[in-house]
Symmetry: C2
Subunit: 124 residues, 2 copies
Amino acid sequence: MLSKKFYDVLNYEGSVSITSWTKAAPHVTNTWNSFLVVTDDERLLAPAAGMHSLENDLKENNHVIVTLAAREVEGKNGYQGTGFRLEGTAQLVSSGAEFDMMKEKYPFLREILEITPESSKQLL
Amino acid sequence: MLSKKFYDVLNYEGSVSITSWTKAAPHVTNTWNSFLVVTDDERLLAPAAGMHSLENDLKENNHVIVTLAAREVEGKNGYQGTGFRLEGTAQLVSSGAEFDMMKEKYPFLREILEITPESSKQLL
């Protein structure tokens, strides 16, 4: 589902937005493009240090919307920049081989945020 | 309300997330740091070309959450990178002096998105 262009964006630094929500309200947390690790089966892993509002939301609703972009990657029709919006589900993971791999890479993490995209849309 | 650090972030390119929501679900749309114009009274103006989901949400709920960041700007405790989350209200504007100014700068715009922040939090 993730296109070559999506991986191109990850080669450049930028801020990633992660929106979660319950009936009460949404919350938006962030990470960096460079912090995302994509697994072979196209899940996204990110180090979670704070993310307490996200954690609370996920208990009620595990859907998330993720956006990320890079001005350096050419978009549609030669546009200078492109970005993606992913929708999917997420969970926090606090043990296992992927947790250990991420903990080595990002010692500051408390848990890993695992996002399973259900759709990915190139916006530009 | 907007700190010097906030303006520093705007000097670097990056993607801005704008989350709107109704009882049904949130939507996330994006713009670039470089597209934001801050007025003297600290409203944010952005060119709106698409943003139809945002427009629909604003009819029901005019609150938005905005995030933006720059890896190039020093955060707290010497961290390499900082970002902000703003909460406030928004409206789309299709005439007036600010519309004309933005239209000249961004000929592709349909309307301008005007965001009035009620809070601004430095995240890193």
